[in-house]
Symmetry: C2
Subunit: 192 residues, 2 copies
Amino acid sequence: MSNRVITISREFGSGGRTIGRKVAEKLGIPCYDAELVQKIAEESGYTAEYVEEESEHTEGSWLSTVLSDRSMGLTNQDKLWTIQSKVIIELAEKGPCVIVGRCADYVLRDKADCLNVFIHASLEKRAERIVKEYGETDDTPEERVKDKDKRRAAYHRFYTDMKWGDAKNYDICLNSGELGIDKCVELICSLY
Amino acid sequence: MSNRVITISREFGSGGRTIGRKVAEKLGIPCYDAELVQKIAEESGYTAEYVEEESEHTEGSWLSTVLSDRSMGLTNQDKLWTIQSKVIIELAEKGPCVIVGRCADYVLRDKADCLNVFIHASLEKRAERIVKEYGETDDTPEERVKDKDKRRAAYHRFYTDMKWGDAKNYDICLNSGELGIDKCVELICSLY
């Protein structure tokens, strides 16, 4: 098994982004995360902020947008999905890399040799992490984590028709809250 | 994290039982699988065959038994669940070990320091495996795998109220069909 692309899906606050970066650094390959947003922005003509807003990270009411606008044809989010998919495939074709989020596992399912990873942790550990690491100041970090979970799961479900967090969709799922970030990095690298 | 008990939940045909045995051998600790059935049989007074039949491995129509008999009080399966739970807790208290199946992750959730593992593989790989390794001669091994999946999922759901195969219920989930049995063994041992 010669995996060329590592896709990392992750629950909000689980440290999946950090794990992705560390894995890429250790393996000496690029990690696409913020860079991906930048490329999608360039291709779409939208600003990076808008791309971020309309993608899985959205805080806004994209669900209502989806429900209300889709009858009128493609929504902006649908258009971004198409561009995002194209950019992900191009990056994967360029060479070995780590791609964090954005349903890359699904987009690349018939296009590249992937190691598909899912990172999760308990609600408590993730709430603790977003306060400590991301400097979140929300009074109810658990609620914020739950809200993000719901949005990502709905986005994932809508575009991939796969159940978010179902073990069978991944090659390896890791509980970063129990195993620790560094152990997760080590395990993923050992599979590359 | 000093894990003392490794619980292995697994899809039928994924090689989880083999992985459990190899992990235990490598770590020099006991693996409870068939031995567990034997102990439950001794405690309950039933034969090992009956225990096997009425537990997660059942081929019979336990679901209909559950539905029809529970109104009359505890079913045999409920009684076996109680004995099984007691035996699992006793074994875990004896010392470090590997326990395969039987919802040990759930039974030990507040009782022992566990590393909870889930092993899965694609339907195709599992069907291939049951024919090759277990000598299954069924004309439609995929159907048999699917049937077993349904029974285990229903049993698990009924007694634990947790979703079978949901990544968040485990510390690590591994696709043995993609990673291979030996790699799974190596990864689990490296976490102990």
